[in-house]
């Protein structure tokens, strides 16, 4: 073999630099990175792959626990990053996850449907487990919705804190202690005392005398009703009998 062919042969045996595989897979969005973010309600670990968020977790149990949990729940390994992408960071600080993309990894279709529906609940509003079940076309699966939300791998951004029990109690919280659920809802501007008062009096809907539409109490339309025009209803039949129709945005009853 002459020297040029031999050297070409040597060139073809060149090795990609150390770490090339990992850097390339990360650039393709095939590797999860993680970093810590400080929020008004404490420190959180956030993991993402490409532009998709794959996990959010309170940092109070430590890094090791987060890494182990991620490995067992998501089934992939994590690499530390310098910081969280600005878009994800802003969304976390504002608890507004709607504009982001998510990597639901190994979650079942049902679990994914529950999380996607939960993502639609606006900031400052709450819905019941039953509402989520009904909205995803599985009205009988209320308990399963509760289970799926208790295992929400992306709390805060997927706002499982906005799903509460129908009786006015707040219920379980995937993101940590139930008290935390309260704190986040307060931070989002929800008047919990007022909600509890309505629940105690078994008032489930608010109607407007001017539009003759009835809503869930925290719906943004309900909150704009002037006090003089506001009527409270305990049941759907009561509202309908009074000539009210359900709100198209908060969909307070089954269609």
């Amino acid at each position: 073999m002459n020297m040029v062919e031999e050297a070409l042969h040597e060139l073809s045996a060149a090795r990609a630099p150390d770490g090339f595989l990992e850097r390339t897979l990360r650039a393709c969005g095939l590797r999860d990175s993680y970093a810590k973010v400080a929020t008004p309600i404490g420190d959180y670990f956030v993991a993402w792959r490409g532009n998709r968020v794959s996990a959010v977790s309170r940092a109070d149990k430590g890094l090791e626990s987060f890494l182990n949990w991620f490995a067992s729940e998501v089934g992939r390994s994590l690499e530390p990053a310098e910081g969280v992408p600005a878009l994800i960071r802003r969304a976390l600080l504002a608890t507004r996850g709607q504009g982001l993309s998510y990597d639901f990894g190994q979650l079942t279709e049902f679990e994914q449907a529950v999380l996607r529906k939960t993502l639609e609940i606006p900031r400052g509003e709450v819905r019941s487990y039953g509402w989520v079940a009904r909205e995803i076309g599985r009205p009988g699966a209320v308990r399963a919705v509760g289970t799926a939300l208790r295992h929400n791998p992306i709390p805060l951004l997927i706002p499982c804190h906005r799903v509460v029990r129908g009786d006015g109690e707040l219920g379980n919280y995937a993101g940590g202690h139930p008290e935390l659920k309260k704190d986040i809802l307060k931070l989002e501007g929800l008047d919990l005392g007022w909600l509890e008062d309505l629940a105690r009096r078994h008032k489930r809907f608010l109607g407007s005398r001017t539009t003759h539409v009835f809503c869930q109490p925290t719906c943004s339309h309900a909150r704009r009703i002037a006090l003089d025009n506001r009527v409270e209803f305990s049941a759907e039949q009561e509202a309908r009998a009074a000539g009210y129709r359900p709100c198209r945005d908060c969909r307070p009853v089954a269609a």
Binding site: M3, E6, E10, A13, A14, R15, T24, L25
Partner: protein, 188 residues
Amino acid sequence: MAPEELTQWLARDLDAGFEEVVRTHQHRLFALALGMCGNPHDAEEVAQDTFVRAYRALKRFPPERLEELRLAAWLSRIAVNVVRNRVRSRRPALALLAGAEAEGVEVPERRAGPERTVLARAGVRRLAGLVAALPRAQREAVLLHSVQQLTYAEVAGALNLSEATVRSNVHRGLQALRARAGWLSEVS
């Protein structure tokens, strides 16, 4: 792993399959990029960019096209385009700069003796520079044929040229290299 197994893997699970594609093709593709750019820094950028584009394209591939995909030729074609676009858009003097800075390239020490190893590395550096200084058509043809080890037909397909043109470009490219690589025979 046989090429068909890799494309079957891709069809089954794109993300896991693609990791294997990068693992399998990274060194050969880096070598190709090194030959085209002449320095390891640009070569890494080109190789990485090539895989990123390949991954994005594969996401939109219909399964029946995946099965008949010739990965080595297809990746080469993407790499060639990446380099052409870089040269066109922001690095007009790329080939002229090449050769001088080909540091840090690892070559496995297959041959015995420290002198031979050093010679091999120096040879690759110089050669990468010489290859990068060839006219584009010859450079691409030589690298795809000799480094990426594609057949003439595959090179022709990847570069959108006739097989006869590819043969002639490879031939003329190698001739030019031999003429410029006199130093190599001096040390042999």
